[in-house]
Symmetry: C2
Subunit: 462 residues, 2 copies
């Protein structure tokens, strides 16, 4: 076991680059895996993009294609700019088609043209076909490099076929059995093959109960199949039920991470994007964040109107104003707890929209418990801290009672809205993550004030 972590290696590699000891560098790189090399090249690019290309040229042809696929768009572009058309052509041919398509979607049009010109006609046709699938569909992330078998083959023939064509397949461990017209008939794993007799016929050992998805399905459906059924790959069929590609488990991990990031973004009022934080420019970040901030700021006009409406009462009972932020905060936090829990539960398939009644009932009971606990603590705190410790005589028992009773209603309202809105969104086909904390806080803010002033009017007769 000679594992050397990238961090330990880093300094030595940088030293080799600086002292131009390219032969030693090449030997070192040969031992490393594509992920670490890509990270190293990206780091180099930060100081000097020329060095990046120099290091890249040291890689063997096959290794080069793998490293290239791991790089992000800006570095890919930098490297494309500094290599010949012939070198570019070799890289594209050695890349898996789905990686090449991923790359195309990120690169500027003039570079895409150069890449397409450098590819062979067959690769070009494949890439073009893939680019036609809708964004974020299973079709757009699948790969055509799978092993197909026929049901009349026996195990020996099948293994021979895998040995012959397996080298450039993305996975050889799951093989798909197709009919003459390319319809998917079954699935057989290399484990099945190895554990069966050499003369056994595929038809007898294949599993006919294939879990699959369609090219037009959302990519998250492919991810769900793989995750639910613990698969290494899921086959993708077209409208005519013909097998056109597979989605492998490593792509699915990326999908799951991207989808979670998308939910985080949406829930914080940020327009989602595929770009990681570190790669997003300031202006782009502003564009992704300003719409919700603007909308929420403007919709706060309602809270202003409510406060203005009760201005006279407030000036007579000025002590009430001091508790407005606490009430709105408690409402907002209660609501976002519920919305977050429900949104997450929906997105991992733990809850379905049809469960709406039981979810609301559960949230209301939790809200009653939380509301009463908070109200009791607040009542004691207002009398002990605000009245006695901070010696504010305006905080009377009736004021403390009004504020505490408001808390109960506000928490119940906030938690109900917090669970109902995401469930409705899911039902009508909107991403429930949009119905998250910022929106719910804004609604809760206005309603909290209304509840507060209404109760104050009744109890304190303001």
């Amino acid at each position: 076991m000679e594992e050397k972590s990238y961090d330990q290696r880093r300094e030595r590699l940088l030293e080799l680059v600086r002292s131009k000891r390219l032969k030693a560098l090449q030997l070192e790189l040969e031992e490393m895996n594509e992920f670490d090399i890509a990270e190293f090249i990206t780091e180099l690019g930060e100081e000097d993009s020329l060095k990046m290309a120099t290091v890249f040229r040291l890689l063997s042809k096959e290794h080069g294609a793998e490293v290239f696929a791991e790089l992000d768009a800006p570095e890919q572009q930098e490297i494309i700019n500094s290599i010949t058309d012939k070198e570019l052509g070799e890289i594209v041919e050695d890349m898996y088609v789905d990686d090449a398509v991923d790359m195309m979607e990120e690169l500027p049009a003039n570079i895409v043209k150069r890449v397409m010109r450098a590819a062979t006609p067959e690769t070009r046709a494949l890439i073009n076909q893939y680019l036609k699938y809708p964004e974020n569909s299973a079709g757009s992330i699948m790969t055509a490099e799978f092993v197909d078998l026929k049901k009349y083959m026996n195990v020996r023939e099948s293994i021979a076929r895998i040995r012959r064509i397996g080298d450039d397949k993305e996975t050889i461990y799951v093989c798909y059995v197709t009919s003459a017209d390319r319809k998917l008939e079954g699935v057989v794993t290399v484990k099945d093959l190895l554990l069966s007799d050499d003369d056994a016929v595929i038809e007898d050992i294949m599993d006919r109960n294939v879990i699959f998805c369609r090219t037009t399905d959302d990519r998250s459906e492919a991810a769900e199949r793989i995750s639910d059924y613990d698969l290494l790959a899921v086959p993708v069929v077209d409208k005519e039920d013909r097998l056109v590609g597979i989605v492998t488990v490593d792509d699915v991990i990326d999908v799951l991470e991207e989808e979670a990031t998308e939910d985080f973004d949406l829930m914080a009022g940020i327009s989602p994007s595929d770009k990681p934080y570190s790669r997003t420019g300031v202006v782009e970040m502003w564009k992704r964040r300003i719409p919700w901030l603007m909308f929420l700021m403007l919709s706060a006009t309602f809270t202003s109107m409510i406060i203005t409406h009760f201005e006279d009462a407030l000036s007579r009972f000025a002590v009430l104003t001091g508790f407005v932020p606490m009430l709105m905060g408690t409402g907002g936090n209660s609501g976002s707890q519920s919305s977050t829990a429900v949104i997450r539960s929906l997105s991992i398939g733990d809850t379905e929209p049809r469960d709406i009644l039981s979810v609301v009932w559960k949230e209301i009971r939790v809200a009653v418990l939380c509301g009463i606990t908070l109200a009791c603590v607040n009542f004691i705190k207002m009398l002990l801290v605000d009245r006695i410790l901070l010696s504010n005589p305006d905080v009377t028992v009736m004021v403390a009672f009004t504020v505490s009773l408001t808390i109960v209603f506000v928490v119940i309202f906030a938690k109900s809205v917090g669970c109902i809105l995401p469930m409705i969104a899911e039902k009508i086909g909107i991403d429930p993550a949009v119905m998250a904390s910022p929106l719910i806080s804004t609604i809760t803010d206005a309603v909290s004030l209304l509840i507060y002033f209404t109760l104050a009017t009744i109890i304190l007769r303001i």
Copy 2:
């Protein structure tokens, strides 16, 4: 391709159960995969737990163990209660050790005792060993069922070994080469084996540069290795560098989903737990949610104190009160955008704590852009809507200016705090997700009020 989705099957299965046509049901179940059967059994359990056990007994021995592993703790417990010790023993023996350990951690102590009694001494020893690893460590999620090879073996011998022992291994596709003292020396895939000559020696085709992790590493490190390096499994070694288990990609998908759920929970001020939403009782939900709500409610005392302090000024300039909710909301939303983006970026490894200066500098520039945009729109809106449309003469140009200027400072402050706190948390080893919206909103609320009243004192001379 005879794929029938579970939803289509469901009604027919239920009908078979109701009419007690057990033979037909058994045939149907034999064709289904363990995930769908587990879902069906869980659904049955909701109406009648006796039926659940009846259906479970129809499954073949092996199939039974797989289905059992897919069930949640309450259903497992239900079934354990209604089968004999002999049946229980068979199930435990047929389960992968890591699945059995998962189960043990969820079941009540008296049931665990029964399970342990039913297992063979070897299985019992293995389970006990696993239960000793810290919670959420790589050791706690690994499985001991891997294929080990020796470096002096040739390809033919290796494949023969896989055929002999591969049946009950969690993956056969990645094999680990170990020395006589069980130290990890290399890794070889079945693809390498199949694509090599039958007489090739493992030593020559194995990859010595093994990506591994340690039993005491956090499980998320195992997940990161698999996700970064696109692996099917990562080997786990103990303190003496001996190979003791592997973590497979299907477990890692679960880990990634659980870690994301944990971040969502923390960021909404909910204490995280492994239990899905639908399985969490009302009192447990209250316990997980009340601490943060309580803390945040009590810490709002500061905002009350600030407002009380400025009470006189506010009663003379009552119009200012109306904009407090908008300012606090805008601050909270701006801050939570930054904290969410940074927390997510940290958790997928896109940003490191050492990037703190560049992150803060980026967030400040975004904040200046957002702040100015919002301030301009707000200035126009206050004069057009509040002053003219809602004919509120108190909203003067100077008031609008004060509120708008406050927005600029509040947004800059909120976005700075929103990115700095999570970065510091990560640096000192606290989960950055704790530093999320609720906490940042509370800080921002108090500071927003201070900025607002200070600017108002200067500009409006209140």
